[in-house]
Amino acid sequence: MLAPLSWLKEYVDITLPEKELGDRLTEVGLGTEKITKDNDDVIFKFEITPNRPDLLSIIGIAREIAAIEGKKIKFPEVYDIEKYIVKKTLPLKITTDSKINPRFTGIIIDGITVRESPKWLKERLIKIGQRPINNIVDITNYVMLELGNPIHAFDYDKIKGAVMKVHQTKGGEKFTSVDGISYRLPKNAVVISDNEEIIDLCGIKGGENTGTYEKTKTIFIRVPVEVPSLIRRASLSLGLRSEASSIFERGVNAGGTVDALLRCIKFILEIAGGEIVSDIYDIKKEEFNPWKLDLNLERLKNILGISIVENKVLKILEDLSLPPKKILKDTIRTEIPTYRNDLKIEEDIIEEVARVYGYNNFPKTIPSGQIPLKPPPYFKDYRLEEKVKNIFKSAGFSEIYTYSLVSEKDLTDNEINPDKTLRVDNPISREFEYLRPTLKINLLKALFQNKPNFEKINLFELGKVYLGRTLDEVKEEYRLCAVSNLKNFYEMKGILENLFGELNIDEDPSRYIEIINEGIVFELSYSDLLSKIKSDKIYKPIPKYPPIIEDLTISVSEKIPTKEIIDAITRQSPLIENVSFKNMYKDNRTFHLVYQNKEGNLTTKEVAKIREKIIEALKQKFKAAIA
């Protein structure tokens, strides 16, 4: 939203310098994005939050400035209809429904001259990025920007049968907007039809068939209140946004239609001439009066954490044009103008007081109260995660973070069926369409990406994968995945053994490791890993008696897995404390044996007996011989 300083000054005295004004407006919630000089004027660019449709108008912004400056607002002059007596009338039959069109305000003006707007009007519109069209259209736009109520002028003579029917579409109807673009309308859009066709897409765009052009002599001006959700749905499904629709979908000032109409009439009669030829139509079911909200001073203090003196609170509310009245010892009743749809509950008033008081004037406190002892629901142990990552870091692996969304090609390259992978309906591009079911995809791509610059590449990622063939089976899982063109199988296995050891998990990690052309990769479920962690480690006393240690070399077929041999050896006696594989040469394999008796000294005789048993067992089982 653009706002020229010169225009704002018509409604409020501004004393703050521009930069300070911008900073202060940002603090109260009117985000000042840019302040630019424009000849002898200054243009403010504001970011308007969705809750404040009133700030999509110059008067709304002026009101915020008035609140900051502690000044009163000057409401612009409107046409004094009370004094006017209608001389001749033109007919118009309106049928509407308050459920889809809560308020319908309008008037007919005859004998106007459509031409170029006067210089001042064109200049103002250009300053805030609007293209001048003709005096009638420009006036309706000007008053909308000034007061925040969208206005549309119809060519009265083109309304067939002098009939306006507000209704909802069935879907599929054709409509051409004033700017000459044709649409097929969605179901339930609110439109106005005359006796023959749709002439207005309510709250979004007027129709080409009843627009105001050079030959137009008589106009009907409509200032409506529309239903936000209906406008929003139609506008979204058409992909059609207008200034009017963004005001209506946020909630227009329902009490402001008549004022906007009168302001509009004033300009039309002055600039385009003509005379009023109808009473004011104002079709509505409710009165749209201001509503009341109570502010409890004790609650104000409890929520804000500071006590603001009562007079200051009253002054702030006064400056915000929320007339306050003290009704009880600690209760202030405020009256909420109809343009402040965002103020619905007491907390909203508390924010009003707080923001004008100034967030940066608040003291800072640290929450008192109890610190929860138990882990929260959905607890995640980040210390453990850091520990796991550090194991890979110290093994030479660098961590990467990659996108969760991957392409169809990524999947097929990895022999994954895209039809059985979760997919986004509205991807930003084909490149990011599917939710990754494995981390491998991105790690392999990362490996290739680094190849031109690095010979040795070790990368890992700890991140989520998204499993399930359809949405009924969605399962998110954390995975740990690493890729290396440097490590061999045993090195990779060793790293995982280290990790499992740290986590006290008794499992052979071999099955997670895969040998590929580019090197070696592993992927495992980190979520599963967490569930396998055994409770804390318990100290075992160091042995009182010395162990007997020896190496045993056997000659055995290469096909027999080392693990089986180790298990077979271990089974032979409880006095065998540990067996580890040392090395392999041709069909000779050497094992490192530790014999230990916790109760007393081991004798060489005892060990010799066990050794014989081992040799016999290996001979029987694997046809092994002592080398």
Binding site: S229, I350, K364, G369, K389, S398, D425, N442, Q449, L471
Partner: protein
């Protein structure tokens, strides 16, 4: 016998004192003290002596053995001293070291663990939740019904519902970690202090400061008597702890439907130090020349959200906030493009 022992001693000591290296010393050790060494053989003769001579000779033999051993160990010390001295002299301290092959933790992780640590000191524990989320937890439970215009600020990825029982539009990729607020509150009673770091998704065209995937760290606290000043104090403590004690902050009003009052937090730009221009005169692109960076939207939890979660807004209150984690990382390391965080180029990663 006596003479023989003394002779052994004298010859051993003088030979040991003359050795030039460890090898010679080892040879002498074996020659005198080894299994077939001269002293060992001599000692073996002792039992053959007449009984009354044995104690004295035995004592003497022990003395001889000890003095040989002492000489050996003193020579060993001298030898290693000489060796060390030589190493000390020969070393070139200007030559680069040999580094062990150690990898790097991603800058996002490093900042994330800092964030977790800082909050831990305030009694906040971490939680984690689904990224494939329902419209309910992501929007509706947070006071953002279906047709709410605030949805425009969070363009959403919808998941393909084909072959499933899910209604189109009901399952999305979460746009905000705030989706975890009601999930957590539903399952526990106040007091609650929790942070939820995690990835979010928004339908946005990618540029230097926008990504369709980005990281936030949500946090909220619910208890009896939680005040706006507590929120200000918490944000101030956390950000200055993370970004440096002298970091300048300012607060502004903003609107999110799930907080009231709503707060936006800005930190002074860490790149231009709030000057909006760089020393070379160019405008600072980090803060879009404003001198400030929006980093942490926050506010007092809206009574409707507390109600939805089954809490009584008359009895408890709370605050919530979301740190732009990706943004925090780029600000801390002065990275001028958010996309650097998802680029697996080792030339980037090795800097951290």
């Amino acid at each position: 016998m006596e003479e023989e022992l003394i002779q052994i001693k004298n010859s051993a000591v003088s030979l040991i004192l003359e050795i030039k290296d460890q090898k010679e010393l080892e040879e002498l050790k074996i020659r005198f003290l080894g299994r077939g060494g001269r002293l060992t053989l001599a000692i073996k003769e002792i039992p053959k002596l007449p009984l009354e001579k044995r104690p004295n000779i035995g004592r003497l033999a022990n003395e001889v053995k000890k003095s040989i051993e002492d000489t050996i160990s003193s020579q060993e010390y001298t030898l290693s001293e000489t060796k060390t001295k030589k190493i000390r002299e020969e070393i070139d301290r200007t030559e680069p070291g040999i580094k062990p092959n150690v990898g790097h933790l991603h800058p996002l992780s490093q900042v994330l663990y800092d964030v977790v640590d800082v909050f831990k000191s305030l009694g906040f524990q971490a939680a984690d939740g689904p990224q494939v989320e329902t419209d309910y937890y992501n929007f509706e439970a947070l006071n953002i019904p279906k047709d709410h215009p605030a949805r425009d600020t969070q363009q959403t990825f919808y998941l393909d519902t084909r072959n499933s029982k899910v209604e189109p539009g009901e399952i999305i990729l979460r746009t905000q970690t705030s989706a975890m607020q009601v999930r957590i509150m539903e399952k526990t009673k106040p007091p609650v202090r929790v942070i939820i770091p995690g990835k979010n998704f928004r339908y946005e065209q990618v540029d230097a400061s926008h990504g369709f995937e980005f990281w936030h760290c949500e946090g909220f606290l619910v208890d009896t008597n939680v005040k706006l000043t507590d929120l200000f104090g918490t944000l101030d403590y956390v950000l200055r702890k993370l970004m440096g004690e002298n970091t300048k902050l300012k607060f502004a009003t903003t609107n999110f439907p799930f907080v009231e009052p709503g707060v936006d937090t800005y930190i002074q730009c860490t790149v231009c130090k709030g000057k909006a221009r760089l020393p070379n005169g160019q405008g600072c692109s980090f803060c879009q020349m404003s001198g400030w960076s929006e980093i942490m939207p926050a506010g007092m939890i809206h009574p409707n959200v507390l109600k939805t979660a089954g809490y009584d807004p008359k009895k408890v209150s709370g605050f919530a906030f979301a740190i732009g984690l990706s943004r925090l990382v780029t600000l801390r390391y002065q990275m001028d493009d958010l996309r650097l965080l998802t680029n697996p180029d080792l030339r980037i990663l090795e800097q951290f």
